[in-house]
């Protein structure tokens, strides 16, 4: 068995200024992207890692390249002084 290194959590953001509501992402990853109203895109910034392939396809399919995926492999920062 080949053990894969743990993949970093899935994180994405859409530049909604750039987004023109073509909806390609909604087709590619319907559990992550959806329209709310006629044209307003809504999406999950931190979907389950299992949909990584769909999200990557959505990012590639976006005609205006408005979707940015996380690329960092270092751990997310945690709050210092956790007695707040």
């Amino acid at each position: 068995m080949i053990t894969q290194p743990p993949s970093p959590p899935l994180r994405l953001v859409v530049d909604l200024n750039r987004c023109q509501s073509y909806g390609q992402c909604v087709y590619a990853a319907p559990t992550v992207f959806r329209f709310h109203g006629e044209e307003s895109l809504e999406y999950d910034y931190a979907p389950d890692a299992g949909v990584r392939r769909e999200v990557a396809r959505a990012a590639a399919a976006c005609p205006v390249q408005a979707i940015t995926l996380g690329g960092a492999t270092e751990p997310a920062p945690t709050a210092s002084g956790d007695d707040r």
């Binding site: 044209e39 910034y45 920062p77």
Partner: protein, 452 residues
């Protein structure tokens, strides 16, 4: 002239104060630009950077939890993160940031990206009452979401700007009764003028919102228990409400800069066109930079005033410009001159804007129609196109952006197939301005508060 690269900073210590969108993107850009030194991010909130636009929409409506609005980090930045840590002072000559816990952090270059906060309701007018909310942070959104889940009999939203409209829209989605007060004649009047504002007022009313234009809240009154009971309005009427959301604009987080000698107040921290902080007596500081919502700067396109754009894409673009200028020498400096752009979602409509409609004296609907709720409006100032707003028509704005960038004449010559037979510009009806006169306020005043 090409300056030696050594004049920019590639090693040493860079401190970024503010760990939200602008701070994070600046840190990433600093590494992209080749900075290999010590990078510290200081953030008052205890969370890793998250996105704010969904707070008033998907989060408030319950479609997205706050755990799911974390911003992606697009590259490793190898930074020291001081989260949950408030900056309380800045020693410019000593190059140190003072922290609330008594520590201080030394820097060679500093980036100020502390953003804005919601303007609070005055304490003497009921601001401390239980049930009075603002909406700017995750905690604000979670608190307000909890209050809405308790099924209040009515929610009062104070202010029909972008945040106010989105909150009212989310409340209606939840089936809650909503009253919205608005100082001017229509929602969004200071950002988009009265003509387009009147169209948005129809969305409010169709959604069942009790909209009170030309009305302010005089005071919020509570039960003896300290719970909000009702609001007394400027017309003498009262509104019974258990929840009030104060959406009356933003204040820049600059208190920590008091005594630093920098030009900074509630309107922002002033920089030059290259994002370099300015002193109160008007000199740029070589090693301190400003980016994001907190920044006010002289945009070359809009001379004679300082611009503050609390827009999402400005935070990203200004962070990149600042990071470039921090890491490059005098001959390689960039000027920050973005075309402003923002968007809003409310009452099922998707509104997008480019340029600065608030500068305009005239407006004309160029595509679609106000009645159909799907239209594009072009804004002109003294015969030039200065901005455009599209409702449920996101794909057309690119073309208008190019026209605004090129200083095209107004009304624009488009030949759009869905346009009217001839264009008939009217007074854009911005409050407090005679027809045909330019705004007497800074462009920053009407900028929306939630959508960078």
């Amino acid at each position: 002239m090409t300056a030696p690269a050594a004049a920019g900073l590639r090693t040493g210590r860079i401190v970024v104060v503010g760990a939200s969108l602008a701070g994070l993107r600046a840190a990433e850009a600093l590494r992209d630009e080749g900075f290999t030194g010590e990078l510290t991010l200081i953030g008052e909130e205890p969370h890793e950077p998250y996105d704010r636009p969904p707070l008033s929409k998907a989060v408030l409506s319950g479609r997205l939890s706050c755990d799911h609005i974390v911003l992606p980090q697009v590259r490793n930045i190898d930074a020291r993160w001081l989260l949950g840590t408030r900056a309380t002072g800045l020693d410019v000559p000593g190059r140190r940031v003072e922290l609330a816990d008594g520590r201080s952090v030394a820097y060679d270059r500093l980036l100020i990206a502390t953003g804005t906060r919601a303007r609070p309701w005055p304490v003497q007018a009921g601001g401390r009452l239980d049930g009075v909310h603002v909406l700017r942070t995750r905690e604000d959104a979670e608190r307000l979401r909890g209050a809405l889940l308790a099924s209040p009999s009515r929610v009062l939203v104070i202010g029909a700007g972008f945040t106010g409209g989105e909150v009212a829209s989310s409340c209606r989605e939840l089936g809650l009764a909503v009253t919205v007060t608005q100082r001017s004649a229509t929602p969004l009047a200071s950002a988009l003028g009265g003509v387009i504002g009147r169209a948005t007022a129809d969305w409010y009313r169709e959604a069942g919102v009790d909209l009170r234009p030309h009305t302010t809240v005089r005071t919020l009154e509570g039960h003896p228990s300290g719970r909000l009971r009702r609001a007394v309005l400027s017309d003498g009427t009262t509104v019974d409400a258990e929840v009030a959301v104060v959406a009356t604009g933003a204040l820049a987080n600059t208190e920590w800069l008091a005594g630093s000698g920098l030009a900074a107040d509630h309107r922002g921290a002033v920089s030059d066109a290259g994002c370099r902080a300015m002193t109160a007596d008007g000199r740029p500081v070589e090693d301190v930079f400003v980016a994001g919502d907190v920044a006010r700067w002289p945009h070359p396109r809009y001379p004679g005033q300082l611009l503050r754009l609390d827009h999402w894409d400005n935070a990203v673009a200004q962070a990149r410009t600042a990071a470039h200028n921090i890491t490059h020498g005098p001959g390689e400096q960039l000027v920050h001159r973005p075309l402003p752009a923002f968007w809003s979602q409310q009452f099922g409509r998707y509104l997008k804007s480019i340029g600065v409609p608030a500068l305009a004296d005239q407006v004309v609907v160029t595509q679609g129609s106000l009645d159909r709720r799907q239209f594009v409006a072009a804004y002109g100032l003294q015969g030039r196109l200065v901005g455009a707003v599209a409702v449920d028509s996101p794909r057309v704005l690119e073309g208008y952006a190019a026209l605004v960038e090129s200083g095209a004449p107004f009304p624009p010559l488009l030949g759009a197939s869905d346009g009217p037979d001839h264009l008939d510009p009217v007074d854009a009806a911005f409050p407090g301005r005679a027809a045909g006169s330019p705004p007497d306020h800074a462009v920053s005043a009407p900028a929306p508060t939630a959508h960078r």
